[in-house]
């Protein structure tokens, strides 16, 4: 081979390689502009989907398939609690018009609480109580208390918090289920979702009732999340993108976080940002081919929640000050992409479609929940 031929071959390889890189790993990150008022409008539209499709008894529409024009009979208590929590977040954020519907959703849950004795309360409609359901009911009540200053459910809050603490193992990890017949937690079964939900619930309860000592189990959960959870659950790559943990860290920002907690917060922010950047690369005309279809609205919403909560932590904790600007930039980008995918109002758009996010023609109530909450948290970084 001559030098000239080798040069030409190298050149051809470079051109081909550059093309492949441009289409894949170096595809442009597309960030649609989004104004603060538009984010609020998107959150409101999502809330309208939730309350507009709510039953009189407080139950929400679980899902809707727009091609088949039908919804399933499925339901999930944890998601019901999460949707209610999101409505209370909106109320707390100035959207008081959703208080009645949120209270209806709350009443539906309170009808399904079970007294386990010693003032312990669990939210369940079967003989097994899920930790996440009770934890998010607790979070809902805490938000309602913050929004209304109504102490009417304080006893239930303390009972739910006691249930959550009862699910904790010695290493700070949380058991996911409680067997009502056996009267004890189901051993060896954990959940990557419920652990963070439990932490947030306990953190909020400690903020409401600082003298009751719920900070101690909260610290133990946070230690577990920060140091052992990913390995225990086999999360690769770590950390699990846990927006509930992010909410909790923001709530505990002034409790005196240790360096290991701040390191965990930093890793979480990096993880959310990486996923959000990858999602932004779907914005080109070929993006869905090279980066797969856009994820559920609920998925993107959780990234917004995570980044938004961690940004709040970074605003008060100087150890994360370097993350403030890049987190704000990524948050704004992800919010713009999420808003772009929401179904707008239109003459042929049904109440089950308007304001929703669809994936494979299906939307589920938690899509609107996480998206609405995420939009609220993204607002401060938007123009």
């Amino acid at each position: 081979m001559t030098a000239g031929r080798r040069t030409r071959r190298a050149l051809a390889t470079w051109v081909l390689g550059a093309g492949v890189m441009r289409l894949t790993l170096w595809a442009p990150e597309v960030c649609p502009d989004l104004a603060r008022s538009e984010a609020r409008a998107a959150a409101r539209a999502a809330a309208e989907w939730i309350v507009g499709n709510q039953d009189d008894d407080g139950r929400y529409l679980y899902d809707f398939h727009r091609e088949r024009d039908e919804s399933s009979d499925d339901y999930n208590l944890v998601r019901h609690a999460g949707v209610t929590m999101s409505l209370y977040q909106l109320v707390l954020g100035g959207e008081g018009q959703y208080l009645d519907e949120a209270d209806r959703g709350l009443a539906w849950m309170l009808e399904r609480t079970r007294d386990l004795g010693d003032g312990t309360v669990a939210f369940t409609d079967t003989d097994q109580a899920k930790l996440g359901a009770s934890a998010l009911l607790l979070v809902s009540l805490a938000h309602r208390r913050l929004a209304t200053a109504d102490p009417g459910h304080d006893r239930t809050m303390r009972g739910l918090a006691a249930f959550v603490v009862g699910q904790q193992r010695a290493d700070g990890s949380m058991l996911d289920l409680y067997d009502l017949d056996a009267g004890r937690p189901v051993p060896d079964r954990t959940s990557v979702f419920a652990t963070g939900e439990a932490l947030w619930g306990l953190a909020l309860v400690h903020e409401a009732f600082p003298h009751l000592g719920f900070d101690e189990p909260a610290w133990r959960i946070l230690d577990h999340l920060a140091t052992a959870r990913d390995e225990d659950e086999g999360i690769v790559p770590p950390p699990w993108p846990d927006q509930w943990a992010a909410y909790s860290l923001a709530e505990m920002a002034e409790w005196g976080l240790q360096d290991r907690h701040v390191t965990y917060a930093r890793r979480l922010a990096e993880r959310f940002a990486m996923i959000a950047r990858f999602d932004a690369q779907r914005g080109t005309w070929y993006g869905s081919l090279t980066h797969g279809p856009a994820p559920r609205g609920g998925g993107v919403g959780t990234w917004l929640e995570g980044l938004g909560a961690l940004r709040m932590l970074a605003l008060v904790d100087g150890r994360l000050a370097d993350l403030r600007a890049p987190m704000a930039e990524t948050l704004a980008c992800a919010a713009g992409n999420l808003a772009d995918r929401q179904v707008d109002a239109g003459p042929r758009v049904s109440a089950q479609e308007q304001g929703a996010w669809f994936y494979d023609d299906l939307t589920r109530m938690d899509d609107q929940q996480h998206a609405a909450s995420g939009m609220l948290l993204a607002e401060p970084v938007l123009p």
């Binding site: 081979m1 030098a3 080798r6 040069t7 390689g17 441009r22 170096w26 950047r277 690369q281 990524t330």
Partner: protein, 180 residues
């Protein structure tokens, strides 16, 4: 900074430069080799200095860029590690062609080019310039004195530096994943 230096040393791969040209020609053209070396260095420094405009033109953030750059570097490293050096070619007769060949493809490797932008964006053009200069000058020198270097040792060194480039690539990619 250490990683940048190791990165340029492994991606420029002076050992690969030492075995890029055959040894059976008794030509001695230091000017051409110097011109090629300086040209390659100028390109790398220019890319490092223009890292921000490059990222803006690509419309991607530093994290996304570093993830891709790390994979390019690692792939080039794996290629050296597994297949060894590319077969040597005869020296071009023309002085300018020799200079051009030294610059590209011998010294301006894919790994070095993508690394220049990455180091420039993260550490600044000055750091990129001196770390790249160490590697490029060493590679140019190795190419010039190739007849006095033990061929077998150079072939092994190519693979060793390939392994180093693979490690550097993985580090850069992981760092990219963690960049906000």
């Amino acid at each position: 900074m250490i990683l940048a230096l190791l990165g340029f040393l492994s991606t420029v791969n002076p050992a690969a430069a030492a075995v890029a040209l055959v040894r059976d020609r008794r030509t001695d053209r230091p000017r051409s080799v110097t011109a090629g070396t300086v040209g390659a260095l100028l390109v790398l420094v220019a890319l490092a200095a223009a890292s921000e405009p490059v990222l803006d033109a690509l419309d991607i953030g530093l994290g996304t860029y570093r993830l891709g750059a790390g994979i390019v570097i690692a792939m080039a490293g794996v290629r050296w590690l597994v297949a060894g050096p590319v077969a040597a070619v005869p020296e071009p007769e023309d002085d300018r062609r020799l200079a051009g060949f030294v610059a590209f493809p011998v010294l301006l490797t894919p790994g070095a080019v993508v690394l220049a932008v990455s180091v420039g964006a993260e550490h600044g053009a000055a750091t990129a310039a001196w770390t790249a200069a160490v590697a490029v000058v060493l590679a140019g020198l190795a190419l010039y004195v190739r007849r006095s270097l033990p061929h077998l040792l150079m072939n092994s060194l190519v693979r060793l530096l390939g392994a180093a480039a693979t490690v550097v690539g993985v580090i850069v990619a992981v760092d990219g994943m963690r960049t906000l």
